[in-house]
Symmetry: C2
Subunit: 247 residues, 2 copies
Amino acid sequence: MNIAFIGFGKVASTLVQLVNSPDITFLTSHEKRSKDTMDLIKESEVKDCPTLKEAVENADIVISANSPSNAVEAALEYGKYCKGIFLDLNNISPKTALKINDLTENFVDGAIIGKIDSKNPILYLSGKNADKLLFLNDFLSVKVISDNVGDASNLKLLRSSYTKTLSVLLIESYRLAESLNLEDEFFDILKLTEGDDFKEKSLSRINNTLKSTKRKSEELEEILDCYNAQDLEMVGAALKKLRQFEH
Amino acid sequence: MNIAFIGFGKVASTLVQLVNSPDITFLTSHEKRSKDTMDLIKESEVKDCPTLKEAVENADIVISANSPSNAVEAALEYGKYCKGIFLDLNNISPKTALKINDLTENFVDGAIIGKIDSKNPILYLSGKNADKLLFLNDFLSVKVISDNVGDASNLKLLRSSYTKTLSVLLIESYRLAESLNLEDEFFDILKLTEGDDFKEKSLSRINNTLKSTKRKSEELEEILDCYNAQDLEMVGAALKKLRQFEH
């Protein structure tokens, strides 16, 4: 079986390492790629085809793992050459997933939960052909949600809306506690209901959020753009608050 | 040692059961009490004095466990007869704690975290005389926060602002998940980062909040009233959202 990658970054190179089988050959191409990507291709167990078109044409599965902004373009340019399954792992919105579904045959909507190079990444899939990718369970956790393209992307956004808004709530509560000189007690008292790792987890969430307020804001904007923003007052407030921290 | 109760409801009767020592006598009075309270007094190991004034005058520790709205009045009426420590357990705001501090000698600000009749209630105390109540550690968990009257009440409000706002965020996220037919997957996916009991805990928080939206709204209002509401956008959004559920 041949698996081709459109885009060859961290997701692709990690999948090549994880999905280690004599029956599987990975394909990609250095065509129009940066020096860093070419280095990564050379270091990985992947066949470097002269063109990406050739890699895609010869693949049973095509994995688009580029960037959200290039996802539609990649599907538009290479989807037509794909005879097998077209799996998108670009962190796209449900709307974009439906768009790509129109541009490709046998589309599968995919979302990686957790970092791909973390201990236990989980690959959530949805779409009519998602079941055909269940063999990947031999190499990493794969969960098929439903036949509906968009559900994997929806689930990723749902999770994101909860965790990112929670992080902003943590920032607000922590700052109030700090202003009262009660930050240690705040963590102690909440440990009782939120678990022993509450302090460690909360500080890590607060720091991660404050480190990249612009990106987090954009992600919250995408959520409000994707769903009925009127019903998402908490996400709206989190976005408003986060913007105050942007420079 | 004599401990007198102003107000004799669940908190007082549970404390009488917990603080079980031959060296301690509990006092209260049926004066101006309802039939239910009089029944509770009869069932409890407490000495029923002819008047509350007499109970308070003879006490080393007076515990005011009435209701937030009666806390100041109780202190005003009986504080002057109290020769020992005056401990308030009325779930009052930090502002009210400072007010009562002016009305009584040897005031201790107290907050019970968790329900008093739960498995492990914790009594948080603050104020110059709080240390003198550490002997209660023989009977239940007692933590002294600081010398500052108001800190125990602040900590209770801080906790409340986080947990109640979180509950509203859970309602929002859950409803979005429901609208996408992904509520089971929402819980499954968040279990990975939020702990195995995430679903059970979240549903219980959602139900508790929706069962008493009016009371929860009032508690959020109190928080906004007590601190700089402008800095508490998340609490503000939670209050706004909760009010939509009120009938």
